[in-house]
Structure formats: structure tokens, C-alpha cells
């Protein structure tokens, strides 16, 4: 079993320009320990809660340069992978809108607009807790440097002596 789950697949494509790579990334917020949304309602409050979930995936764009435009198009879906409440109460869990793009470091980031409704708990009861975790699936058409460039760098003669080739 791999220590790190392989959640990113890169597929070379012929186009359309300027794209040369199709990336598929699928991740569960629950398993990754990130992206789990919990609403806690104590003795006061209750009602609607709007939050924006920012989900950093394990897809990093190779050759990302924040000074330049890094063109991409994507298709992204977010579903509820887990949901639960601590008490028997009325609830609403909603994923209303989904956005995605690269952050300032080239990490593929999915943002979802979430709405949760949890009622106020009884006066002598504990807090009401509701949590849910998203599952994110993105397909991204992007441009990454071809693999040949990296291979050539490894074959640079100035580096050759460090690889044991001269001995």
C-alpha cells in the first residue's frame, strides 16, 4: 500500500491550444483531515451559517509562475462525502456554488459556498454540532513543461560527475 494515495493523474493531450496536459484530481476532505466543515451552536444562536470552504488539493502545477498568466479550464464537482449531527434536530446542509483555480503557489484550490442550518439547543443541553465533509473531483486542462526538458537537465554533463558516471 502506498504511503500517499495517488489522487492526481496527468494525461498528455494534443489540444486544444495552449493546453498539453489534462489533470484529474479527486480527494476527500474527510480522509485528508482538511475541508471538514463543523458548525457548533451553543446556548445562544442557531440558524443559518454561510461559510466558504477552501480546499487545497494535491495537484501542483509544474512550472507555475505567479508573474505570468497560467491558462487553464476546468470542470469541478463537489459532493457531500460525509454528514452527521450530534443530536436529533432539524438541519440543512448545502453546497451552493463551486469555484476553482491556482493559488499564488500553483496549488489547485477548490472553493465551495456552503450553507448550514442548525437550531439552537435546549437550555440545559449541550451544544448542537453538525459536520459534513466534501469530496472534490476536478478535471483541469492546463499547460506544463514537457517531460523531455527535465530529462535533458538530468543529462547535463556538468551534473554527470555527481551521478557516479565518471567513476
Amino acid at each position: 500500500m502506498d504511503a500517499f494515495p495517488k489522487v492526481v493523474a496527468r494525461i498528455p493531450v494534443a489540444g486544444p491550444d495552449p493546453f498539453n496536459t489534462l489533470v484529474s484530481v479527486s480527494q476527500s476532505g474527510y480522509g485528508a483531515g482538511t475541508g471538514v466543515v463543523t458548525q457548533r451552536v451553543g446556548s445562544f444562536g442557531g440558524g443559518w451559517s454561510k461559510t466558504q470552504m477552501v480546499f487545497k488539493t494535491e495537484f501542483w502545477l509544474i512550472g507555475y509562475d505567479p508573474r505570468q498568466r497560467n491558462p487553464f479550464v476546468h470542470s469541478t464537482s463537489v459532493v457531500m462525502h460525509h454528514m452527521g449531527t450530534t443530536q436529533d434536530f432539524a438541519f440543512q446542509f448545502s453546497i451552493d456554488d463551486v469555484f476553482a483555480g491556482f493559488d499564488d503557489h500553483g496549488c489547485w484550490t477548490v472553493i465551495a459556498d456552503l450553507v448550514t442550518e442548525v437550531p439552537e439547543p435546549p437550555f440545559f443541553g449541550g451544544p448542537n454540532l453538525a459536520s459534513y465533509a466534501p469530496y472534490v473531483s476536478s478535471w483541469v486542462l492546463c499547460h506544463e513543461p514537457p517531460l523531455e526538458q527535465h530529462t535533458r537537465r538530468e543529462q547535463d554533463p556538468r551534473l554527470h560527475r555527481f551521478t557516479g558516471g565518471d567513476r
Binding site: 493531450v13 489540444g15 470542470s75 469541478t76 464537482s77 463537489v78 454528514m83 453546497i95 473531483s137 478535471w139
Partner: protein, 261 residues
């Protein structure tokens, strides 16, 4: 129940991509949040079939994998069940539009199934579309210096437009609206006797959109007061719609001076 991916009040966060994977095949990925707004109050499970029209077209669907899940649910402190099951992908035999079918199941006193998310990955055969035709005019209006089509291209603007009709009040109740979509290119030019003829081609205009081809004549053609020079359609349809089963159309034009009294 039917929903349409191109309508934001029926599908939100709609995104799609199309990748060329070679061998004249395309990989399509389509995602969105389908808006059901289904609220009920029952202790018995209720099911509803939902079809989402995906606004992508293909003549042949090789493979498809649908992925669906819950996006927005609510319950009023009762037992409940929410399911989105049996996803499948198909292609309409008439229009070629892809669709996603699912079955949704709900019970609860009360429960609301507002939305579900979907993502469809489909492998389809690429279907290219074309519009082509000729533009003919007498040399008296313009004599090209050679048979290179580039010499007349600046004076003949060929465009495939989205065609829409709007209704309103009064005697001009119906108005035609044209939105330029895809420009054409001149591929060849012939000069014979007193007549010139250019052959144009428009590559990959969209399917399932009412289209109208227009040719606008620029000042390189002879102009005289009271006699504007215009291009008029002489054969082929005025408005037409392309599909995976009708991928090409031919529309011919003639240019002449229109004398106005």
C-alpha cells in the same frame, strides 16, 4: 423532471472542458449542481427520475462515467433518506445532445432534496462542422489584382451569426438579432469573363444554435451615391441549425449595387 445545463436557474456552477486526445476522439468532462427544489412530507420513500441535458453534442458516444452525489439536503427532525442513484449517460438520437439520467429518492417528515452534484466524463468521436459557399460579383464593382484570395479578404467579411427573433409592441413587433460567433475565411478566388467568384469556409460553427451567414461588403468595392453595394443570399437556407447528423451547410451570395430611387 428535466433540467438544462445551459440554464443557470436549473444547473449552477456548470463547467465543461473538451480535450483532444488524438485519433479524432475527444474527452468531454461536464459538471454542475442540478437544482431540484424538491420538498415533501412523507414517511414513505418517494422517487423521481431526473434528466439533465448537458449542452454538449456527439454523434457517437464511446464510453461515459457519471459521478453523482448529494449537494443540498434538509430535514425537520425526523427519520430521513436521501439518495441519488442509478446514474447513466446517453445521447439523444435526434439532436445528438448528451444527457445524464439519475433517480432521486427522498423520505422524511419533512425533508427537502434541493440539489445534487454531477460530473460526467465522456469519450466521443469528434464531429467537425462547416459552412461553405461562394460569393460572386461583376468586375465592374471590383477587379482583384490577382487570384490570391488575400487581395479581396479585407473587403469581404463573412461571419456565422447566432440568429434570434425578439417580439415587442407595435408594427415592428418582431426584430431580428444577430450575434457574431465564428468568422469565415476566403479559400480561393476565380476571375472569369466579367465575373469574380470567391469561395469561403467557416470552420466549426456551433451545433444546436440557429445560425445565419452574413457577408458585409467593405469600401474596396465601387460605391456610388444612391446605389449601395450589398451581398444577398442567392441559394441555401437563410437560417439553419447544425447537428451531429447535419454537420455542414452551403450558402451562396451575390454582390450587386442596389439602386434606390
Amino acid at each position: 423532471m428535466e433540467l438544462h445545463a445551459n440554464l443557470s436557474n436549473e444547473v449552477s456552477s456548470e463547467r465543461h472542458i473538451e480535450a483532444d486526445i488524438g485519433g479524432n476522439r475527444r474527452l468531454l468532462v461536464m459538471s454542475g449542481i442540478a437544482i431540484l427544489d424538491w420538498r415533501l412530507d412523507t414517511g414513505d420513500p418517494q422517487s423521481r427520475s431526473v434528466r439533465v441535458w448537458l449542452n454538449e453534442y456527439a454523434r457517437e458516444l464511446e464510453h461515459a462515467t457519471p459521478f453523482v452525489g448529494l449537494a443540498s439536503i434538509a430535514n425537520g427532525e425526523s427519520e430521513f433518506d436521501f439518495s441519488v442513484i442509478e446514474p447513466s449517460v446517453g445521447v439523444d438520437p435526434n439532436s445528438g445532445e448528451l444527457y445524464l439520467d439519475v433517480v432521486t429518492v427522498v423520505f422524511g417528515e419533512w425533508s427537502a432534496f434541493y440539489r445534487f452534484s454531477y460530473q460526467v466524463v465522456a469519450l466521443v468521436a469528434h464531429v467537425g462542422t462547416t459552412i461553405e459557399g461562394t460569393i460572386t460579383w461583376p468586375q465592374s464593382l471590383m477587379t482583384p489584382p490577382s487570384t490570391d484570395p488575400a487581395t479581396v479578404a479585407p473587403d469581404l467579411i463573412v461571419v456565422a451569426n447566432r440568429h434570434e427573433l425578439s417580439s415587442g409592441d407595435g408594427p415592428w413587433a418582431i426584430a431580428e438579432h444577430l450575434t457574431p460567433l465564428v468568422p469565415g475565411t476566403l479559400e480561393s478566388l476565380t476571375i472569369q469573363d466579367d465575373t469574380c467568384q470567391a469561395h469561403y469556409r467557416i470552420e466549426n460553427p456551433p451545433m444546436a444554435v440557429p445560425l445565419k451567414v452574413t457577408v458585409s461588403v467593405q469600401p474596396g468595392f465601387a460605391q456610388s451615391p444612391g446605389a449601395p453595394v450589398l451581398a444577398a443570399r442567392i441559394s441555401g437556407p437563410d437560417v439553419f441549425t447544425l447537428s451531429p447528423y447535419e454537420t455542414s451547410e452551403t450558402v451562396d451570395f451575390a454582390i450587386s449595387a442596389i439602386f434606390v430611387r
